[in-house]
Symmetry: C2
Subunit: 424 residues, 2 copies
């Protein structure tokens, strides 16, 4: 490199600090300006010259000296406007902003393309795990048609704890909040928004067709019960919040986030606590699983810095930079609605312990084209009712919903406790 | 791309066929010449114009039209000479040749550098798993200091079968040979040579210091007994052939291939049959595990084609191509000898069922600075002897060898059955 590459950071929270500390090892790269929320905040970052801090992020965006802007604040506003302005001022962009990419990705990549700039975002999906760059470079010979992933550390932590301790969702959430593993308002994580943002962008990259975030089906983990964990375990499964994406030969995509029973023979069943993992299936490669830390100061910094070094390595070249890393997926994928999908299901029912209940469950399923793979009835102590656990064969979501309606109207069925899809 | 990129293949066996078939999907890339061993062999490859076949690989190397040569025959001779000549004729190289890279890598990369050509080799290590390119690009901000890997599918298949079926090494090997999962002469796999070639190159890339193959310690799986599998399982471990590499802060490297007891809490313990996996540890990323198919026609083709597309994407540029993918690790790492290492050990002993044996085992260990983490004695039916299983705390290899000598001389110890290192 002929001269130092100049970096502007927007955001000096957990990720920003990690990026700053990591970049110090690279003498050809210099962080020259950092936008922070509170310029008076006491910071303890070795080697940080506080005179480069500003509380006006447009000072970073407009600085003519800066080559690459790393946006590390998250959210849509003001991140979107900052990135657009930075591109127009001739800067390449590195971002960790999964929400922005999911909601405004197409727009941003079009602007970048118009100004011949690159937007890299390895850190936005699965933190430190190498994922976007491998898909775009060394796996470029593949047609990827399926993704199964654990993309949210908070929910995976909660589910692992529920499994290990037999504790309730609420108890584990309370503990996780005390330890700082879950936010005060945990909605974004536990309702699956975070994972849905990530699978939207990941599926877009992998399938080379734009997935619209509003078409991604989403269910969270708040209704998972310790009893479901126990029943799943006994049948050879673990319950995980799975981000799933599939595209068929006609280019129709099925993208969703919801809890799933994962067979213990699969790697994803063994990804515990805050670890993330992604299984990509494609031809010619087959199945590849990439796992590691999905968040945190240093893992996220690894990806941000990897993106910065990739841009820096090509800097000053006269030719078109990083051709494989460009994003131009203008064609939107046709999307399958959840009601059109086929799945295996785990179903937990509490019923009156009367003759004929099992028969009626079987009949309702049969009349709606649902075959049962297994059915287990356990007496529920002295209450004269029974817990019934069912695993179905592959069935239509539509048919399954009809059956649930029938069960809800059946007097001898006290409650439908859980309906969870099963990974095949 | 302005014109079609022209590819010459050397070898049209399993991998070569996969590469040819996969490249057909890319209209900007054309395979224009293929060197084969037997030009008269009946081939059934769709779209193959047999007039591009030659049995003289130098016709590929010397063809002025060819831009990239993919060497897919393996071994040192004639692969080395072919690659050197191809580079001198101005071609970039893609190779899947792990033995050549391990033994002649330094030499080849120096020649490539001199002629400003690139050698890519993603397929040489862990088949279809994205590994080399991620290390060199998106993980470039990291200091990687440890690698734990399953790099040989044949031995992992044998060990998995021994574990699942309780069968002996020899029985499983016979079956694997019948099914084509093991070669007629299985030495390269079962004695750990294949894994040692791969970890030599992988550690060189990850540590940015050249590892010499002849300094890599190597033990195979031929002495692993079903009894060891069973004992390991009972104590919460799986036995795997692990390729291990570590570098300390002074730059001293410890690189080796040998069986290890892997705790079931680790991902590598769940990598079964022919699947490969690599856990990289570094800062800032932490631990990342990449797993998938380590061999086979299509997975290997995925990596070869990924390398070809990466070179093709930059082709015709006037500037220095793929700067991050270059290899120039001229500094050799200082290497730790196996006798200088510290490990935890699993030890299986058969002893006469006499008073004092356990005491003598304990004393020999204590006098040689070895602490025992656990010791289990089981009576051995009617034979009046006992099976004793020991797991030690971290101990010096030197001390452990002394203790084994003492046991071998002890009249009340019938046999030292196994000594296997334990992954921490």
């Amino acid at each position: 490199m002929e001269r130092k590459i100049k970096i502007g950071l927007i955001g000096l929270g957990t990720v920003g600090s990690g990026v700053f500390k990591t970049l110090k090892a690279f003498p050809d790269i210099e962080v020259t300006k950092i936008a922070v929320k509170n310029i008076n905040k006491k910071r303890n970052i070795e080697g940080l010259d506080e005179s480069i801090l500003t509380d006006n992020p447009y000072e970073v965006v407009n600085d003519p000296e800066i080559d690459i802007v790393a946006e590390l604040i998250g959210g849509i506003d003001p991140a979107y406007d900052l990135i657009v302005n930075a591109i127009k001022k001739g800067k390449h962009i590195v971002t960790a902003n999964k929400e922005l990419l999911a909601k405004k990705g197409e727009d941003l990549f079009n602007i970048a393309s118009e100004y011949n700039k690159v937007i890299l975002y390895e850190a936005a999906i699965a933190g430190g795990i190498p994922l976007i760059m491998p898909i775009k470079t060394i796996l470029a010979g593949n047609k990827i048609n399926k993704i199964k992933a654990i993309l949210n550390g908070t929910t995976n932590y909660i589910l692992t704890k529920m499994d290990v301790q037999g504790a309730s969702y609420q108890d584990v959430l309370d503990e996780a909040q005390k330890l700082g593993y879950a936010e005060t308002d945990p909605t974004g994580d536990v309702e699956g928004f975070d994972a849905a943002y990530k699978i939207t962008t990941l599926a877009t990259i992998a399938f080379k067709k734009r997935i619209k975030f509003e078409n991604v089906y989403r269910e969270g983990i708040t209704n998972i019960r310790p009893e479901d964990m126990k029943a799943a375990n006994e049948m050879g499964y673990k319950i995980k919040l799975i981000a799933f994406a599939q595209i068929d030969d006609n280019g129709k995509a099925d993208v969703r986030v919801h809890p799933m029973l994962v067979p213990k023979s699969k790697t994803l069943a063994h990804i515990d606590y805050v670890t993330n993992a992604v299984t990509l299936s494609g031809h010619p490669v087959g199945d590849v699983t990439l796992s590691g830390p999905g968040a945190g100061e240093f893992p996220t910094a690894s990806s941000v810095v990897g993106d910065i070094l990739s841009i820096a390595s090509e800097f000053g070249k006269t030719d078109y930079m990083l051709p494989m890393m460009r994003c131009n997926h203008s064609e939107s994928a046709q999307m399958l609605d959840i009601t059109e999908t086929e799945n295996k299901y785990y179903l937990s029912i509490t019923a009156n312990n009367k003759i004929g209940v099992i028969g009626r469950i079987g009949k309702a399923c049969e009349e709606n084209n649902i075959s049962l793979a297994s059915i287990v009835q356990k007496e529920f102590g002295s209450k004269n009712c029974a817990d019934i656990t069912v695993i179905t064969e592959l069935a239509k979501e539509k048919d399954m919903r009809k059956v649930i309606d029938i069960f809800n109207r059946d007097d001898s069925i006290i409650s439908v406790n859980s309906l969870i899809r099963v990974q095949i």
